[in-house]
Symmetry: C2
Subunit: 203 residues, 2 copies
């Protein structure tokens, strides 16, 4: 009937978070049943409560633990790079775009949807992820301006514009895009975006 019991205390939290992320991404937070999360993780519902006090805490843990490593990796990759600013900007955006298929890519959309029910989480995301990501981009652009590789322009105003197409593509792919044929491919989009952006920033 049921699979035999196993005791894997340290692996459980990760497995539960992964299962929850997959289901939340598909159906949203409210519409996901913890029984389904448990079944997907191969455990009983009660086990979830050994590791997470409530459904909301599970969601919070998900966001906090699965998102930050991603961003940290991005920051390190950017710090290692030290070529000309246009190339750095190109690489940075391409690296971001390449992560669109990771399971964690669903998290931003979840936060958008649930920010009304989780204001604290919205603030956390704004400050720890968005602000840091934008700061990273702003730094690269500012360096380019300082070096004369970009024309003088407010880097903080350009940064959100530089990620906007990626964000839009990310949200689209995880939601509506799953039910509709892709209009222009993501590669075309990224290439065109970089073409436009770098030309717009040229001195």
């Amino acid at each position: 009937m049921s699979t035999p019991r196993t005791r894997r205390k340290d692996a459980r939290p990760d497995e539960i978070r992964a299962a929850a992320l997959a289901l939340f991404a598909e159906r949203g937070f409210a519409a996901t049943r913890l029984d389904d999360v448990a079944r997907r993780a191969g455990i009983a519902k009660g086990t979830i409560y050994l590791y997470f006090p409530t459904k909301e805490d599970l969601f919070r843990a998900l966001v906090r633990q699965d998102l930050l490593p991603n961003l940290a990796a991005l920051e390190q990759a950017a710090a290692a790079h030290s070529g000309p600013a246009p190339a750095r900007l190109r690489d940075l955006l391409a690296t971001m775009a390449a992560r669109m298929d990771a399971p964690t890519a669903a998290i931003p959309r979840l936060i958008l949807a649930e920010s009304g029910n989780f204001p604290a989480l919205a603030r956390f995301y704004a400050e720890e992820v968005v602000a840091r990501g934008l700061a990273l981009l702003t730094r690269v652009i500012a360096a380019g301006v300082a070096a004369g590789e970009f024309r003088p322009i407010d880097p903080a105003a350009v940064a959100p514009l530089a990620v906007a197409p990626l964000v839009m593509a990310l949200l689209w792919r995880g939601s509506i895009g799953r039910h509709v044929p892709a209009t222009p491919g993501p590669e075309t989009l990224l290439a065109t975006h970089l073409d436009l952006l770098l030309r717009a920033l040229a001195p």
Copy 2:
């Protein structure tokens, strides 16, 4: 205790949709109780069922009836305009940006969030709203290219990039942005975007 009964058959559907939209926007579809929708509309819950068979139908009616007039108005405004392409593009994006405060601005975010639970609605939105909106933009850009006002470039690839910052700003304002101080103002964002875009498209 309760307000005296009134009979206003033809005004009810609009009021119910408006109340539902406000609450869906705030809490999401699943987390919104029909009792709350009824209270906000100033009626009893049963009355909702005189006009909408189910909660899902209410959501569908909301999207279909409140979104299309918006787009139609935009299409008409664009058709009336007949100046040089850069100015038309400017006006079009500015007009879109100006609608970000309307209650209907919450609908795209709702569809993003619920597309998994309402595939048909996602398809409807993709075909009737997104595709038409992009076609509108594509036409303007293509006209500019044909007239030599823009450099030769695939208009269909540029269109999504031209709206991306608006879409991002829209989603942000309705969700995370409500819990966090605005980083760059929307006017700055739009102005910078137009500056970059028109420069990138210049021959």
